[in-house]
């Protein structure tokens, strides 16, 4: 009986110490434990994405020779079209460099892209994140912009060795300077957080009073170079409503984000050229 009482007291003491350690341990200790677990967990997150790549590979390898020949022919046509575009790009680029030299302008090329696969999507009431399969070893740092074919994805929130966490443009914590396409007056954009069974939305503040938008005639909202991390003119979404703010000087409204944001498979991280030179 006495032995049982001792065990109960010991258990209670262990429990109290463990809970206190979790709650009151120094921040540095808690953060380093968290980071260690994050690195330990990284393969768990990457496996489904790697398996999906493997599945795609096997499904492609099961295709008939005829299908492959047809796909090859289509690709050859596309390639020849792209080759022309590459030549055109190269000549335009050299022209830009020449003008920059003549006019003594700073370099136009500000970002390099790093393509990364999405391995995990965490979109809940508490956080809107995607995890990508590239990290600090690929030159990615916190705060870098992330984009895809349909526009802005978000910003790098956390970097591990092989994976990075992207705060989505729909997150309540995501806020940036933007402007309407074809205008240069700055507007503030902020994500609205996750809504149940609906596509993602955001909101804009401080829009000039002369702007108007509706669901049938939306305004294209694009990134502003004022934000620093994003290049100019990348699509954020469409402003579908604008109403005067209480002060009567500015308008605020709702932004419809592209549907592709919910099914991202591949994104591009924009790495500032200045950082590459520093590294």
């Amino acid at each position: 009986m006495r032995w049982r009482k001792l065990t109960a007291v010991r258990n209670l003491a262990v429990f109290a110490v463990a809970v206190a350690a979790c709650l009151f341990a120094p921040t540095a200790v808690r953060n380093s434990v968290n980071r260690a677990f994050e690195e330990f967990r990284a393969p768990l997150d990457a496996i489904p994405s790697q398996l999906s790549d493997l599945e795609k590979f096997w499904s492609l390898s099961a295709k008939s020779k005829r299908d492959l020949i047809e796909a090859g022919r289509d690709l050859a046509r596309l390639n020849s079209a792209y080759e022309l575009k590459v030549l055109e790009n190269a000549s335009l680029r050299s022209q830009i460099h020449r003008f920059e030299k003549i006019l003594n302008l700073p370099s136009h090329e500000k970002f390099k892209t790093e393509i990364a696969r999405v391995c995990r999507r965490d979109i809940s009431a508490w956080w809107q994140h995607v995890t990508i399969r590239k990290g600090s070893l690929h030159g990615i740092r916190e705060g870098y912009a992330v984009v895809y074919g349909g526009g802005v994805v978000g910003r790098i929130a956390k970097v591990n060795a092989y994976t990075s966490v992207v705060e989505l443009v729909s997150s309540r914590k995501f806020r940036m300077a933007a402007h309407v396409a074809g205008e240069d007056r700055p507007i503030i954009y902020q994500g609205l957080g996750s809504l149940s069974l609906q596509s993602a939305h955001g909101e804009v503040f401080d829009a000039p009073a002369d702007l108007s938008a509706s669901a049938t005639s939306p305004l294209r909202l694009v990134t502003s170079a004022l934000a620093g991390t994003f290049p100019e003119g990348i699509l954020i979404g469409e402003i579908v409503s604008l109403a005067p703010e209480p002060d009567g000087i500015f308008k605020s409204g709702r932004v419809r984000l592209p549907k592709g944001l919910a099914s991202l498979r591949e994104v591009a991280v924009l790495i500032p050229v200045a950082d590459i030179k520093t590294d």
Partner: protein
Amino acid sequence: MLFDIRIFIILFLNAAYIYVLSAVNTELAPAAYLLLPAVLIIPAALFLKFVPMLAVVAFSAFLSDASTPVRPGLNAALWMVSAFAVHGMRFRFLARDWFSVTVLAEILNIILFFFYALFFYGGSRSIADYAARISTDALASALALALVAKFCVSLPVSVANILGVEMSISEDD
């Protein structure tokens, strides 16, 4: 006894559950989000001795919330308190029938959901939006739990049996 294979069975299964949940949530996003801490807590709380149980639950909590922006340690403390409560009344679940195990898992999960909603507020346009989103996720999680709770409690017992070890709700601590 320092080396107890049952600890590793439950740890391994918890890592597998986290992997499956991560894959399922990736496909479900952004419509719903399954949050099933009960399946990671209950097997450890029912079958392990007190100190190994705390270690397994804390490890699983850190592993589960490693990539979420929750204050490190807070989730682990919450899970340990839940495990402590379940461990204290483990004898009520000696039969391990579908009804009792599912009810236990549902109650534990909904309590944890409530605390998550309270502690981990991440911002939303309005309280109504936040409540609607949490209700959707809680409902989806409850439905999933009704299907998997009994299986998740039976699985470690089956794995232990295959390995020739007995896993049951014991009195020893």
